[in-house]
Symmetry: C2
Subunit: 416 residues, 2 copies
């Protein structure tokens, strides 16, 4: 829980620096909203769906994007644009738990609605990098790869001459290319294009295209070339090209993307996997509204983030947060114990009071285990003198302090 | 969302001052753990239960107590005692939504395990009061009523001579007494005890017993009398009797309580209802473990808390959290805009950048709507001089500031 709180607090702080506002949606949604736009696999096998007592087909949210689209569509006219929203929902998928994949997980979702041009991509990519940098990652620890859905579409239609069904199939195969063997990849492609022998060669050539190649190919519209050029210019000016590169093998599993897509990879050889990604979706709101609103966003899972931080030793130690312990040696001192605790708490200092009478040795063992910073000892002699002993746990020093001075003493010590 | 964050942050801060540590459990639990100890109504009609794809009967948690009992039981030997845990889970109940009751709601759950005597009650009651005081409530805004499950049991068995079925029925009727008419109450009681005419009179007498009466009645064990006396003594010494009173009409719906129970009421005539409550449960862990561990805790719902704060005008206004806005008048200034934003964010100041080129009038309308504190204007002339205009929105003053001084200027202004 301490780790989760650390992750979430830092994530929230970073996205808030960019002016994003937090939202949340209901845990349960109508199953239909996932049927509308999500990949088939999720609605088929992986979703936690059931019929509720009101006979509605509902599902525990497996992802947040349909929810945010529904919410934005409902308030589109009232909300000042652009809309910058984020959330860290818990999501459920019925799948085999494994490395980086759990049935219940949390995901930072960041979305920017209402900016059509590549300045939106600039901000989202900048923010994406700054999340990892904010956790202490350095240049070289991760790599952002960007592509554009329309480059893939043009290649499929104009170079491979594929029909819509073939395009969908090839996109799926490309999406899992990195996870399968070359042989299997070729076999899958040949299944989709049985009669064309040079198809693999075309695909290999396509995947190797660099940013300067892309500007030159004859099968891509000028408009898309300009979009790519404009984003690359912005990224260069913002000093972000050190983190980001064009890579046409990036596809992204979900089919609602319509423009730039991106994925961030861990470069650690032991954890070389996709950390998170996102892209632009121009038609998503359209499911819920007659109006159009362009959006771009990404999702970052807690498990993959944690794996990244661990693999780069970026997770700090997180001791118990309680600062002071006041044990109870004798029931008679409970009034004073409670009175001191009450006073210290008004100063914003956290205090655990011992509620079971204990001996000093046991108290100190417990205090060490719980990593308190200070222990306030109320002994019999001190009780008579209206004094306490305050032990500083870091160096085991101990001082006699009048009861009236305790708050002042602790404040000073904590500010050192 | 801003309101929810405000409530949760404050709740967390207050319980952490007492040394409580945050935990969370899974959203979905086996249905059995609710069958074991929860009131029948919840498992029957109100629970969101379904059979998952692995053929398990599961439920979206309707309450947190069985979960925390399961978790504590599993780690009982490792955890240093006493165990102070809290959580703010979202809970689901299938019921008619209404004032203070929603299908999805959040609930602060606070539990203290491992302290058998009334010092635990003292801490939990102290904390319960300090939550409302921490939100700005004053003496008289709320009233804490305490009772003891064993006083009710002794009365039912020894005075009314009721059998276990009758005891359970009467407890349920007492629990809803405040919400029903006197006639209905009497009719319900007579149904349970058809042959005893004086039963209503006995109950009325019982409900009017004060703390000094309780010590004197002959049907109550000495041990319980001492417990009541000891808690009242502690509460008096801790200056808490101004908030807390003994009231034997308090029953609490769930049947796992075994000792002291309490409920906190709003005293506002327009919202005179139970805000939250809790009590001691000695056997709860026993469902999951052979060992015993006494616990005491309470749950506070977000909706009832919010109703309380609203009815006492204790909810502060919560403007947008983003501090600075840098609009874009001309695409040419995007480099400088991004560079300034980047610098300010490193100082922990939140900045929204305009990504759509806009005119000044529109920019200022938007800035007012979003309640930014400062707007940084990059005009053509300023761009040449490497300067910006910073507008302070609260008083509409505007100053020319060199780009290199922006961070310093804003830091100073924000610290004023």
């Amino acid at each position: 829980m301490r780790i989760r709180n650390y992750l979430f607090q830092k994530l929230k702080a970073i996205v808030k620096l960019y002016g994003y506002e937090e939202y949340d949606g209901p845990l349960i949604e109508s199953l239909d909203i996932y049927r509308a736009k999500t990949g088939e696999e999720i609605v088929g096998k992986q979703i936690y769906s059931f019929v509720d007592k009101g006979n509605r087909e509902v599902a525990i949210r497996p992802e947040m994007t349909p929810t945010v689209a529904r919410m934005v569509a409902a308030r589109m006219r009232d909300l000042p644009k652009p809309i910058r929203w984020f959330s860290i929902p818990n999501l459920w998928r019925y799948e085999q738990p494994g490395h980086g994949r759990l049935r219940e997980h949390w995901q930072l979702n960041v979305d920017l609605f209402g900016v059509k041009d590549t300045k939106a991509e600039l901000e989202i990519l900048d923010l994406s990098c700054n999340i990892l940098l904010g956790f202490g990652a350095k240049l070289g620890d991760f790599k952002v790869k960007i592509s554009h859905r329309k480059i893939l579409d043009a290649f499929l239609q104009r170079v491979l001459k594929s029909n819509p069904t073939q395009s969908l199939e090839i996109a799926k195969i490309l999406d899992k290319k990195a996870k399968i063997e070359e042989d299997e990849f070729e076999a899958l492609v040949k299944k989709v294009f049985p009669s064309q022998d040079d198809i693999i060669k075309h695909i290999e050539t396509f995947l190797k295209l660099t940013k300067s190649d892309i500007i030159k190919v004859d099968w891509l519209d000028k408009e898309i070339k300009e979009e790519v050029q404009s984003l690359l210019d912005y990224l260069e000016k913002a000093d972000l090209l050190q983190f980001i590169e064009l890579d046409l093998s990036i596809v992204r599993g979900f089919d609602y993307y319509t423009g730039f897509i991106f994925e961030i990879f861990d470069t650690n050889p032991e954890n070389r996997r996709s950390l998170y990604g996102g892209g632009r979706y121009d038609n998503l709101i359209g499911i819920f509204s007659n109006e159009e609103l362009s959006g771009i966003g990404f999702g970052l899972g807690d498990v993959t983030l944690l794996n990244f931080l661990k693999s780069h030793s970026l997770l700090p130690s997180m001791p118990c947060e309680t600062q002071v312990f006041i044990p109870l040696f004798d029931s008679n001192s409970i009034s004073l114990q409670q009175q001191i605790a009450k006073h210290i708490r008004t100063l914003g200092i956290s205090v655990e009071t011992g509620l079971i009478e204990s001996k000093l040795a046991k108290v100190l063992t417990y205090a060490e285990k719980k990593q308190f910073l200070f222990v306030i000892l109320i002994g019999e002699i001190e009780l008579q003198k209206n004094e306490v002993q305050i032990k500083t746990m870091s160096n085991r020093t101990q001082e006699s302090i009048p009861v009236s001075e305790i708050g002042h003493y602790l404040k000073n010590k904590l500010n050192q």
